[in-house]
């Protein structure tokens, strides 16, 4: 019997996945467990394995398609076996999650049904559309039930017929034109101005090419906007004297094969402070502040297609060496796309390190639901007075951003100072 291949639900909040590419053509033999296609979720890319041995009988969606989770995307079975014409939902999932199934079905419906059933508009909107020769299919609806209201048609009418015709000829999107006429009516002059604007070199930047927004970058973007708009954030810069730590690290690394990075020391120092001071390990609940026990430090890793923050779990219980190994393995996995869901979930605080790029200070954006993110900056040489002697010291900025709904300035500053004191007395980190 043919076995369905469906879009997996790879995380609790995964709603849909993108088919990056099929690895098998229809008719090709596949082994159970063999990679059948690659998909991209909002967090990772992964391979979907063949659910059975046989041939790939059909593919309902092609490369690039965005498909709701648990939707059947193909079948594997014996050659010549009959399969449904249209994709269906996986039966097992439908039983356990009826509400989600309904949602998925509705999502697919519009393409099939709505175009043939006519347009949903109020009687007044229809009357206005007929009287003004407006095609209701062209009118964006704003009604609460997705219906076209009178105001929507009025907005359309507020574009003069001449302006509309010129726009059509020149391929101008009228919704992007600001009207200068009565009640913002779009006039001929407005359309001509828009055309001139588009044709004038130098006014608009020349587009080299466009690249599609990757699933990951889309999610990163959405999360950034959410954090940036929701959180009243403050960034505090604290300068740290790294001279001793650099010397200490050099000494330790002398006889080591796996060299410890400055970042490892910083993660360890942060973990050590958090062992005793958990005031910044908080999240905002619906009506309460959630205090976390676990010191799970998220480490921001830059990727070509975006950004991901794998988590060093229970960093306070790990030795410097264990932290170093964990960070190395996580960032290697992140770069090869091999992170599992568990690897990037559950952080209680995050670190973003831009030191290697010579950044003096910056304003990192809090990684929700964390309350704090620690930005690590470049180590710079500075002349300083030490015991009345001018010395060359190595200074580094810690740019710590906090969610002011959860953490106050004194708490954040005291936390930064504890991290600074530890980094300035590196032996203490290991004690």
């Amino acid at each position: 019997m043919a076995v369905e291949v469906f879009m997996p639900k790879a995380g609790m909040d995964m709603q849909e996945g993108t088919i990056i590419q099929w690895l098998k053509n229809v008719g090709e033999n596949v082994e159970e467990g063999e990679g059948l296609l690659e998909i991209e979720t909002d967090k990772v890319t992964m391979e979907v394995e063949a659910p059975a041995t046989g041939v790939l009988l059909c593919r309902y969606f092609e490369d690039g398609a965005v498909v709701p989770v648990v939707t059947t995307i193909g079948y594997v079975g014996e050659p010549g076996e009959a399969v449904p014409d249209k994709p269906q939902l996986a039966g097992i999932v439908a039983k356990t999650a009826p509400s989600e199934m309904v949602e998925t079905v509705e999502k697919q419906k519009p393409v099939l049904a709505d175009e043939t059933n006519g347009v949903k508009a109020t009687p007044y909107a229809k009357k206005m559309a007929v009287a003004n020769a407006i095609d209701l299919n062209e009118v964006p609806p704003t009604g609460p039930a997705g219906e076209i209201k009178g105001r929507d048609v009025e907005r359309e009418i507020a574009k003069s017929p001449l302006a509309r015709r010129i726009a059509e000829d020149k391929g101008i999107d009228l919704s992007a034109v600001t009207g200068s006429g009565h009640q913002n009516k779009v006039m001929k002059s407005d359309v001509l101005a828009k055309i001139a604007e588009q044709e004038t070199p130098g006014v608009t930047a020349v587009v080299l090419n466009t690249t599609p927004l990757s699933g990951m970058q889309k999610v990163v973007g959405e999360r950034m906007v959410k954090a940036h708009t929701e959180i009243p954030c403050v960034t505090q810069n604290t300068k740290v004297d790294m001279t001793k730590l650099l010397a200490f690290r050099k000494q330790i690394n002398e006889n080591r094969e796996n060299k410890l990075t400055i970042n490892d020391f910083i993660v360890k120092a942060v973990a050590k402070v958090l062992l005793h001071d958990k005031k910044v390990l908080v999240s905002l609940g619906d009506k309460e502040i959630i205090h976390h026990q676990d010191v799970n430090i998220g480490i921001a890793v830059a990727l070509e297609e975006g950004l991901i923050v794998p988590v060093v779990k229970n960093a306070d219980k790990k030795s410097l060496e264990e932290i170093s190994e964990t960070v190395k393995s996580l960032s290697a996995k992140a770069k090869s796309g091999g992170l599992m869901v568990d690897d990037y979930q559950g952080s209680t605080i995050s670190i973003s390190n831009l030191g290697m790029f010579g950044v003096h200070s910056f304003t990192p954006i809090v990684n929700q639901p964390n309350a704090v993110i620690i930005g690590i900056c470049a180590i710079e040489e500075e002349l300083a007075l030490v015991d009345n002697q001018v010395e060359n010291r190595k200074k580094m900025m810690i740019s710590l951003t906090y969610d002011h709904r959860l953490v106050n300035g004194d708490v954040a500053a005291k936390f930064s100072l504890k991290v600074r004191d530890l980094l300035e007395n590196p032996m203490e980190i290991l004690l």
């Binding site: 009687p123 009604g143 609460p144």
Partner: protein
């Protein structure tokens, strides 16, 4: 034009008094309207002015005295009959439905029934399921009757005078909770024609069609909504039968939104009729949101004041419904 302040109850008494002076065929009968001065104090000292022959106390037998009034009307008098609570109309249903409204038609116009049946209607007083109903929709289902529900002292006086002068049976549904409310009326004599709605507030965004006690509530809601940029028109129907359909349609064509508010229960209520008239008219083509009605829940009026308040329409519910329509 000089004006004076008067309560709703006294405006009704003035109408009765003026008409009794004007026409000696006018008289009133009902329970406790004489020495007791009326259950809601409407008749007051009328018995002292006009004597017990014209302000007649009756036994507790609505079927009997309403029948008596119909007989007097057929014989050429102009009776006003008071039923203490409108709920008790049901015990004289044969008179109200089968006799009074049918006679002129069945006798080929040889007789008429110039009777006014006044009665106290509506809830909000903690008077429970048998003393709080709003039964106007049942009356509107009977051709041959006229049904009036005044919302202000001025409307009450002007419309009652017209009702007394009308040659057909008129049911005059007074609003219990409005008896003590005050309003301004002319010093001079005036009447208000039956069958004309009154636009109590002009607006351009949404029409609320209502009557009786709900009018003040809708006006208050309109004030609040104005602060949120929604300009509401409030139509007080005043007469439910015959209904001023033209005023409704004209307004809905202007505002493109219509909400009907009444205190009577929703199912089978007059709101359904009003909405049907809009849907069945030119106004349909101007609608920019579904037609809505706000009415009491379909339950007997509870005795518990909290529950009674819960089932009745109120200002907050009106505001919420209008906002939902204008979304």
């Amino acid at each position: 034009m000089p004006k004076k302040e008067i309560t709703y109850a006294n405006a009704i008494k003035e109408a009765i008094s003026e008409e009794m002076i004007r026409d000696e065929e006018v008289f009133m009968m009902g329970e406790d309207i004489g020495i007791y001065r009326g259950a809601f104090g409407v008749s007051g000292d009328l018995v002292e002015t006009f004597g017990e022959d014209r302000i007649i106390d009756t036994p507790i037998s609505e079927l009997g005295f309403v029948g008596c009034a119909i007989g007097a009307a057929v014989a050429g008098m102009r009776p006003i009959v008071e039923i203490m609570f409108s709920d008790f109309m049901t015990v004289c249903w044969d008179m109200i439905v089968n006799q009074a409204p049918k006679m002129r038609y069945m006798f080929g116009g040889k007789v008429s029934v110039p009777m006014v049946l006044r009665t106290a209607s509506g809830g909000g007083t903690g008077a429970a399921a048998q003393h709080s109903q709003s039964l106007e929709a049942m009356l509107c289902h009977v051709p041959g009757l006229k049904v009036i529900v005044p919302s202000t002292p001025r409307d009450a006086k002007g419309l009652l005078k017209s009702a007394i002068r009308d040659n057909n049976p008129v049911i005059f549904l007074e609003q219990k909770l409005l008896y003590r409310t005050k309003g301004m009326i002319e010093e001079e004599e005036f009447t208000i024609p039956i069958g004309e709605a009154d636009i109590k507030r002009e607006g351009k965004d949404c029409t609320i069609i209502t009557y009786g006690r709900m009018v003040q509530m809708c006006l208050a809601a309109a004030e609040s909504l104005e602060k949120e940029g929604i300009d509401v028109e409030v139509i007080d129907l005043r007469t439910l039968l015959p209904m001023d359909t033209e005023a409704i349609i004209k307004s809905v064509i202007k505002t493109r939104h219509a909400l009907v508010v009444h205190e009577a229960v929703k199912t089978g209520g007059i709101a359904g009729e009003i909405i049907a008239r809009i849907a069945d008219s030119e106004a349909f083509y101007y609608l920019d949101a579904p037609l809505k009605r706000l009415a009491s829940e379909d339950v007997p009026v509870p005795f518990c004041p909290v529950l009674e308040k819960g089932i009745l329409p109120d200002e907050a519910k009106i505001i919420a419904t209008v906002k939902e329509m204008m979304a």
